[in-house]
Subunit: 348 residues, 2 copies
DNA sequence: AGCCGGATATATAACGTTGCAAAACCGGCC
DNA sequence: GGCCGGTTTTGCAACGTTATATATCCGGCT
């Protein structure tokens, strides 16, 4: 069976507590004793039982990360960033995905899915303010992403409005006059709201009409949803000269439809995505995209959760991570320098 | 503070064990009693403490899943499958990524990264047989992926040789005579070995030479690696009429290079990938790919781990998940039916 | 009425760890 | 030699749960 403190103590001929002291680097242990105990630990291959430690101390060393979907490479890359950041603090990440469904998000936020965690990082899609309000759970919660809540939780995100404006400004700066938006969320009002707002604001600022006929709502945020939305817009007979998509997969789905219909990107229609996923750099037409600093988001999220751990409750804060616009062929055409920042104003 | 069994017992005026019995759906509890206790549970908002339960039962309800990298959509999708399969059994998944580095894989396999787990599902890249041999750890281990080990652990994978042969057969069946392989692993011998073997075998079977000059080794398995490998092949002056890539991102990276050089896919060079990630269905040229049954792999992995949980040690087994070849434009050209199985012989 | 046996409820002892308080030790000082 | 103060080690209780064994209940049977 597994070896416990008791076994080590017996082997070394000392008390359990002394072994515990050695394991925990307690200050007042003579070097001789430390060595003797350590030897027994090594011989027996002792490893602390985390469940017992947790029961005693009330900490698990685990934080949960709940994301809408891992299939979206943005979230996968974000997950990697969180895992790495957590590892720096000797924390382990329990990953969950909600499918962006309110029901699942609710379960997660109330701690039903994972009940062994010290803290929770959640990227909500459908969750409403009220859903979070009566959250009896007392594990620290940090929110990620575009949704804004008027609640006392930390929130980490880029400045979505500014990022969306930078994307649209990039398009108008290239002379585009009719910019469609793909990916407003169907049914629910909130999500994508900020990016739609940025789109609207920037068009107004440029003296262009923000035409609702150019906003396509979707059910999801995958390639197929982007393709369907693009198709829908084209079938109304409209021919925008630019498309700004809620995220890269949708932009790529839209580009596929344009390609099928013989419309050239960017000559006929320029396309900008959001998230800067790797995939966008290797298509036949590489994709201009807003690039959030995922690494920073992951790091900030972990730090925020851990800061609230000791039961301390620092003032809830809203943190803005950096972003920048990366211009590629889908707006600049063949020969565009990959990875060049396209717009000075994009950084925040 | 948190409410425990004791509090509920006091509130309901019964013993702790009775409450425990209700919580655990113990058979012999009168409906009246059950209701009474349940009411107290609801009133007080009792929720079992998993650490205590774990300490007592020796189970955590957590399994770890260690993958090379989440950025690769195949692994992200696989992770989603595992999480879902685990949820069916009331298990939670702790996700780790190793970067495909031996050192990290070693740490994971020996349980240093996560010590609260009941079982481990590991997809190794660099780990050698000997690394796993002296694994003192006694948590059940299930291996995933292409590497084969002669060790008493369950191993879940598709038939990589057969799958690779099906891919190559598809190409030769279309009249291609010079099929390059992209993605043999540089430096280490093992990984990709099976797919290379399938490539070699099928070419021989077709009476074609398996020319080592057409095998490109790479350091990683991302888009950029595929692009670099493709570039290298072309720069030797060779003009294969088909490319079989180790995975979809590499195939897509290769296609980007072909596109840049003005080579048409599939007219000049046909391309087949591996893993059937969503991304492959939305490029300017959709990608023919070997499609492993990820859902089955996830499910089988979870079931295998859980089967070994009670300390029972069923005979280690090697499980073959299904796969099929999905033909798309990168081999069949414009107008290819998406999602059609291209080759009857592909299923196993 | 007394007894029996199954169904129901309870008391108690673990699981492995750490915090607290007390005990043992030790060198120096009166 | 006894005492003091600090250092080092120890014993014990507690964290919240479940397994085991035991006590209690109750209807039916002799």
């Amino acid at each position: 069976m597994r070896v416990s403190l008791k076994d080590v103590a017996a082997h070394a001929g000392v008390s359990i507590k002394t072994v515990s002291n050695v394991v925990n680097n307690y200050q007042h242990v003579t070097p001789a004793m430390r060595e003797r105990v350590q030897r027994s630990i090594d011989v027996l291959g002792y490893r602390p039982n985390l469940a017992a430690r947790h029961l005693r101390k009330g900490r698990t060393g685990i934080i949960a990360l709940a994301l809408p979907e891992l299939g979206n490479p943005y979230f996968a890359e974000l997950a990697a960033a969180v895992i790495d950041a957590a590892a720096e603090h000797d924390y382990i990440v329990l990953l969950d995905h909600t499918g962006g469904r309110r029901e699942q998000e609710l379960l997660v936020s109330q701690g039903f899915r994972a009940r062994v965690i010290d803290g929770l990082i959640l990227s909500p899609i459908e969750l409403e303010t009220d859903d979070l309000r009566d959250r009896a759970e007392n594990v620290p919660l940090v929110l990620l992403g575009e949704r804004e809540y008027d609640l006392p939780y930390d929130h980490i995100a880029i400045d979505n409005v500014a990022a969306a404006r930078a994307a649209v400004r990039h398009l108008t700066g290239l002379g585009r006059r009719e910019v469609a938006f793909i990916g407003a969320r169907r049914g629910r009002s909130e999500p994508a709201q900020l990016r739609v707002r940025g789109w609207r604001e920037e068009l107004s600022a440029a003296g262009l009409p923000a035409d609702d006929g150019l906003v396509a709502a979707t059910d999801g945020w995958g390639h197929a949803d982007g393709a369907a939305a693009m198709t829908r817009i084209l079938e109304t007979g409209r021919r925008p000269d630019a498309v700004f998509a809620y995220n890269d997969p949708m932009a790529i789905g839209a580009m596929r439809v344009l390609h099928e219909r013989g419309l050239r990107v960017p000559e006929d229609i320029a396309v900008v995505g959001f998230d800067d996923v790797v995939e966008g750099r290797f298509g036949a037409v590489t994709l201009t995209s807003v690039s959030p600093d995922k690494e920073a988001i992951g790091r900030l999220a972990v730090e925020s959760v851990l800061a609230r751990l000791g039961g301390q409750a620092p003032e809830p804060r809203r943190v803005r991570a950096d972003h920048r616009l990366v211009g590629r062929e889908s707006t600049l055409g063949r020969g565009a320098a990959d990875d060049g920042a396209a717009d000075d104003g994009a950084n925040v």
